[in-house]
Amino acid sequence: MTTLLEVKDLQARIAGNTILNGLNLTVNAGEVHAIMGPNGSGKSTLAQVIAGHSDYEVLGGSVTYMGKDLLELEPEERAREGVFLGFQYPVEIPGVNNAYLLKAAVNAKRRHNGQDEIDAFEFLKVARERMALLGMDASFLNRGVNEGFSGGEKKRNEILQMAMLEPKLAILDETDSGLDIDALKAVANGVNALRNPERAIILVTHYQRLLDYIEPDHVHVLSKGKIIRSGDKSLALELEDKGYEWVQEAASA
């Protein structure tokens, strides 16, 4: 099995507050990992640090992605190398056409890989296919990026971007938050359709609910910036039943 991502003893802070305290995580190709934990445990910080957000300062440890030191790369280089972050709060970019951003992103990656840029016709064809897969209306392409989108539309748009960019490692940060059940199902179906043996997916989530639809291979519980317990999907169910305090107590005992 190929190791895609190896996080070792990662420590990071934002605005003077240390959030990650020696986090270890190994993710292999083809796997789906769920990272769960209470608010403030460091779930989103982990996602942002892997993506390279400059507000977060790495204090120690390492992140190795496909044998490379990921922390050395600029955010856009990480993206072109196949790291994708589905944002918890996708930002609106008024006036910029959704299709335009998508095409620019796809071409940035293709150039990076020494491929020719995709032409407009081919792009539209592929985009329409992927949108059908996600149950998205074609009019999405002509709207401003996330401009006036509902919560569900924004999350679906994230999954569309993932579908177009075909990342090797996708981190979906609370993709389930703020979704009604239909939207959740649509997003989960999209993610499931994108599962394959070469691709790893990290689901950052607060609730077990998402895992009813996307079945993880591994479940980790994060607390105070560390993974305190790992297991298979049954761990998520147990958490649902007993709450986070149960693991936290067990860990400190």
């Binding site: 856009e76 993206a79 006036g95 951003l101 620019a104 990076h112």
Partner: protein, 482 residues
């Protein structure tokens, strides 16, 4: 107004840096302004008596005026006696002999803008005999225009060849009494363009095409007059996306448009004069008066401007909606970066019945630049059924720039419908990170966001120019982030 002595010195020195070298050519006048200078300008141009009288009247009026200081602009006092008001075009021996002698940085910019090779030489001021092609192309255009009855010539030629038209329309939209710079321009204008479109004629080409190939250095006091006779139509494009070599620091142009009954004039500008360096040193001062008169019923005048250059921009292309059902439009993108300052906007004066106007202003500020939108919508008592929609958006990049809005409305007819929308936004770090996480570089992300912001205005530009204007914005904002 700041009076830093160093600034004044550099301003003054700059004028001599390239302009007057040891062998002052007989065709140049020494710095200074008085009646004799104006007589000399008029004589050198072989102007008829009416033109000289007009100039002198303007000059006498100018003497009674003081420089306006109401604009939100700061610059050292200009010494008008330190400027030469007539200098013949540079002779070929002073110009670069070929592109090899041109500043490589300038050439790099042309490259980024996608300026065709044959145009680069002319833009960079390479000696005329090294610029091929243009003469024959221009002749072809000229024939086509002649066939349509369109008059399109240098202003100085129009004064001699078509004095009746010049007499009738010159100063009829922007009288010499209009303002300080208009009075100065009226007294000393160097040259410019004259356009007359006869009744019912649709000008067979964008006048831009011809202009871009043929325009010589028209000097710092440009005068343009465009008359669209009844039922005619013309689209005129002024300026160029490429940075133009120019040694004059002060520019004070006047543009007058007259649209008679059922006529339409579309006037597009791309202004990219030297903006000065990142500390604000050097750079063109651009004080322009542009006004269109929708004189006839159902006439329409549309201004579109993309302003990226100059250290100081003072410019308010306006429409007088005199004819019933006449339409005025103003679409503007203004970019200020580094230390640039712009005070720009429009005036829409509703006089006729059922007149309507649209204002879309997009201002982008980066670096330490300051930008102001200044607009006036005036509805006169007799202008029943007037409508105006104003949209005024500002985009800030970085923390040290500023955007200001001064909208004035004077509504004297109760039936008027006036709408004003204004927004101010910033390119946020979140937006940039979002784009970068998708693999798009920061610079490309800024360009994408800026172009999205300006879309409504760019779609008003002639097609090929819209593409160049986008590239121009990208170049203008280089280094604005990070």
């Amino acid at each position: 107004m700041s009076t830093d002595p160093n600034n004044i010195e550099s301003l003054v020195n700059r004028r001599y840096e390239h302009g007057f070298i040891t062998d002052i050519e007989s065709d140049s006048l020494p710095p200074g302004l008085n009646e004799d200078v104006i007589r000399a300008i008029s004589a050198k141009k072989n102007e008829p008596a009416f033109m000289l009288e007009w100039r002198l009247k303007a000059y006498k009026h100018w003497l009674t005026l003081t420089e306006p200081e109401w604009a939100h602009l700061h610059y050292p006092q200009i010494d008008f006696q330190d400027i030469s008001y007539f200098s013949a075009p540079k002779s070929d021996k002073d110009r670069p002999k070929s592109l090899d002698e041109v500043d490589p940085k300038l050439l790099e910019t042309y490259d980024k803008l996608g300026i065709p090779l044959h145009e680069r030489a002319r833009l960079a001021g390479v000696a005329v005999d090294a610029v091929f092609d243009s003469v024959s192309v221009a002749t072809t255009f000229k024939e086509k225009l002649n066939d349509a009855g369109v008059i399109f010539c240098p202003f100085s030629e129009a004064v001699i060849e078509h004095p009746e038209l010049v007499k009738k329309y010159l100063g009829s939209v922007v009288p010499h009494r209009d303002n300080y710079y208009a009075a100065l321009n009226s007294a000393v204008f160097s040259d410019g363009s004259f356009v007359y479109i006869p009744k019912g004629v649709r000008c067979p080409m964008e006048l831009s095409t011809y202009f871009r190939i043929n325009a010589a250095n028209t000097g710092q006091f440009e005068r343009t007059l465009i008359i669209a006779d009844e039922g005619s139509h013309v689209s005129y494009l002024e300026g160029c996306t490429a940075p133009m070599r120019d040694e004059n620091q002060l520019h004070a142009a006047v543009v007058e448009l007259v649209a008679l009954k059922d006529a339409e004039i579309k006037y597009s500008t791309v202004q990219n004069w030297y903006p000065g360096d990142e500390n604000g040193k050097g750079g063109i001062y651009n004080f322009v008066t542009k006004r269109g008169d929708c004189r006839g019923d159902n006439s329409k005048i549309s201004w579109t401007q993309v302003e990226t250059g100059s250290a100081i921009t003072w410019k308010y292309p306006s429409c007088i909606l005199r004819g019933n059902n006449s339409v005025g439009e103003f679409y503007s993108v203004a970019v200020t970066n580094n230390m640039q300052q712009a005070d720009t906007g429009t005036k829409m004066i509703h006089i006729g019945r059922n007149t309507s106007s649209t204002i879309v202003s997009k201002g982008i500020s980066a670096g330490r630049a300051q930008q102001s939108y200044r607009g006036l919508v005036r509805v006169m008592p007799q202008a029943s059924g007037a409508r105006n929609h104003t949209q005024c958006d500002s985009l800030l990049i970085g923390k040290e720039c500023g955007a200001h809005t001064f909208p004035y409305m004077e509504i004297k007819n109760p039936s008027a419908r006036i709408e004003h929308e204004a927004t101010t936004s910033k390119i946020s770090a979140d937006q940039l990170f979002y784009c970068r996480q998708r693999g798009i570089s920061e610079e490309d992300a800024v360009n994408m966001i800026v172009n999205g912001f300006c879309k409504e205005v760019f779609k008003e530009l002639p097609m090929e120019f819209a593409v160049e204007a986008q590239a121009l914005l990208n170049v203008s904002l280089e280094g604005a982030v990070g």
